[in-house]
Symmetry: C2
Subunit: 440 residues, 2 copies
């Protein structure tokens, strides 16, 4: 029997500080993302775990430039040379390389250019390749940092991470927008959100969160819909009002913006990301918001119970003009458009203790206080002709006691897209799923 060498946790992952290593020979590895031939020398751009390193090949390198090609994976010895004119203040002079692998076919488009020059469809048909582009991958480095920040903040606030089932017997939203499947002879559904389970877990841990996939069988084919997306969900007990949930979200997003600046400054710079200010997010009631927009933009109110996408956009424009803030909380949505578990506003059952967060023209979060009283919940279900037997295990928590509670769901891809100024939510999704796309 042998034994395995043991890897210790490093200090927090930092990019290697090559600048301080001038004069040393270092080992590096990565994929050749671009070769720029010059007279007598060449720049070889190497995609590494950290970013893109500019390496120099010249006649002193102990190999032929023809050994390399784009998307070849190599290991190399290189001399670090101080070079004030280079980005980062150093250059890597390639001494020798080992080619670990080479592509088997010519690339359909250049990956190593600043931007990929191909159609929107190709970007997704060739996703394993297009993601190798420096700017494309920066999107998901930022997204990964967002998740780290959300988790870190929530854990500091006493939230416990949970993993809830995605195969369920009833959808949280109901309706037609739910994927169905056969589960050993029974009808099962794919969870439209962890709603029921995170509420149950408030009875256990008081504060819980989950970042995981949610599924919507919506036939919408728009720039803001996905059929599978990543939900950032949290739920908290012992609240006195739904404003506490909004305050928690404000804190979470503000914390994330600070972490981005510290952890992924190169990616923010590369994508010219404009980090929004998050303090003091204005709130406006749904009815008032509808009227504000109608008045200011001389529009008729067509749908009294919901926003049209254009109204969300205009509301954000208006709020930013008036307050300078790129976020707005819209509160007290009509009961008719909120699910059966939404708590109604005391004294006005046509409104709910709920909110959406709009960010740069788009709804990125839906949240609110939930009904915690068993009798009140059963009554509301009866009013809506919902068969309460189907929700027996959901109602169990109310029956055996629940604190006042509420929470929210934030769409990770939508939030990322808005943050990075990408028009289409697919651009902030590694492998988007829509009505047309199931591969790659």
């Amino acid at each position: 029997m042998e034994q395995v060498h043991f890897v210790k946790a490093a200090d927090y992952c930092k990019k290697t500080d090559y600048k301080s290593m001038a004069g040393q020979i270092v080992k590096l590895h990565g994929a050749v993302t671009k070769i720029r031939k010059m007279r007598g020398f060449a720049f070889v751009l190497l995609r590494t775990v950290d970013g893109v390193e500019q390496c120099l090949w010249d006649e002193e390198s102990n190999f032929l430039l023809e050994t390399l090609c784009e998307e070849a994976c190599i290991a190399a010895d290189a001399l670090v040379v101080a070079e004030p004119r280079a980005k980062g203040g150093y250059e890597m002079h390639l001494i020798k390389v080992t080619v670990l692998s080479k592509p088997a076919a010519e690339l359909p488009f250049q990956v190593g250019n600043k931007e990929i020059n191909t159609s929107f469809e190709n970007m997704f048909d060739y996703r394993p390749l297009s993601l190798r582009n420096e700017r494309e991958r920066a999107v998901f480095r930022i997204q990964s940092c967002l998740c780290r920040a959300f988790r870190s903040f929530l854990e500091q606030q006493g939230f416990t991470e949970i993993h809830t089932p995605k195969l369920v017997s009833e959808g949280a939203e109901g309706g037609a927008n739910i994927f169905k499947l056969d589960y050993f002879g029974r009808q099962a559904y794919l969870a439209q959100s962890p709603q029921f389970y995170k509420q149950m877990m408030v009875g256990v841990f008081e504060r819980v969160y989950e970042i995981g996939p949610v599924f919507r069988a919506e036939k919408h084919d728009t720039s803001r819909h996905l059929n599978e997306y990543t939900g950032v969900d949290f739920e908290m007990g012992y609240i006195q009002s739904f404003e506490e949930i909004m305050a928690m979200e404000t804190g979470m997003i503000a914390y994330a913006m600070e972490m981005l600046k510290k952890s992924v400054p190169d990616e923010l710079e590369l994508l010219k990301v404009c980090i929004p200010k998050v303090l003091d997010i204005p709130t406006v009631r749904f009815q008032d918001a509808k009227e504000l927009v109608a008045e200011k933009y001389k529009r008729k109110i067509a749908d009294k119970e919901d926003f049209e996408p254009e109204e969300e956009r205009l509301l954000c424009e208006l709020i930013q003009e008036q307050t300078g803030c790129e976020f707005v909380f819209v509160t007290h949505y009509p009961s008719a458009k909120r699910p059966f578990y939404a708590m109604e506003t005391p004294g006005n059952p046509t409104e709910t203790q709920s909110f959406d967060l709009l960010f740069r023209g788009l709804e990125v979060t839906t949240g609110g206080q939930r009904i915690h009283d068993y009798t009140a919940q059963v009554e509301k279900m009866e009013r809506r002709n919902i068969n309460k037997e189907s929700f027996e295990s959901y109602l169990m928590m109310h029956k055996y006691g629940m604190p006042p509670h509420g929470g929210l769901g934030l769409g990770l891809e939508r939030f990322t897209a808005r943050l990075l100024g990408r028009e289409n939510v697919r651009q902030a999704t590694l492998f988007p799923r829509d009505i047309h796309r199931l591969t790659p």
Copy 2:
């Protein structure tokens, strides 16, 4: 327009140090989990966000004890009194309470006892309730800490978190054990693992990980199978051998054990968890392992290509006897039992560069090096009569160049169950899914 109060990130979530607050009146809230009446006073156990607080009701409390009942949610003012005989060195004297909610029905079993006294089936039929038990919830506090530790370690090693689709056009394992569903008129499947996607992402980030749900339509009804579980998956590029993956896993688990000791000592104590030593995990080749077990326990080898569960158990017993280690890496599994992307052992195509990690008698991880060369992968698929057109987007990464790479998948619930000495993997699952169970 109003504005929302802003929540700042706290220091890392710590349990409140009530002991140092003796003499002060504090506000606390939670659910009454047990009332123990004594002569002239009563202990009221309160389930809070941190744990269970023992509170004292007596005649000086400004409310009747009858105001309370089990699973009532309350807010209270309490005087902290130093009491060396109490756990934690203090007692909470209840001064006044506000009842926020009360259960609507009598509980089917006692939640506040040390252990819930009910059937195995009831534990899961009444999951929203049974999880409120202090020991039950400690399981998932520990599980949540495991995830935090795995993520923290991997991020320190340069891994980027990814979110890959669960709706897929082809399964990574293939076979009959896959859930099918209709996706807008096309056949889709639920991902059996993020295998293909994490490999693609190695071409982008070099090192990636994901913690998310995986789905297996297996009809097994055993103590170690679930139809939906949480996969801890990582994948890393530029490896020289699969032993690097094993070393990374060893480091990850060792790091997690240390974090558990620091972050959830109360839960470990409550469940009397025996934290294993993780250094120097022995490795044994599959063939040798089969023979060792056959020889030592006088067993015939029935299946030459796979372990029987009893063999896994015996191997662990044997290894622990010989080395004191509760883990063992079994390497070089037969090609016949490994998927089409497994790299074969140079010079011996009947074996693969793969491993399983066994822990206290059970396989908790499967991993290995993958084929990165396009031609080699296509040839192996042809040998296995796999239609390579179905895997076009998977093969795209090989075609356009991939570094040598490999990774693993660890079953979070299995690992937790082994760690906590729970016989059945369901006991380490919030809401288990098996052939019989789709609710709660």
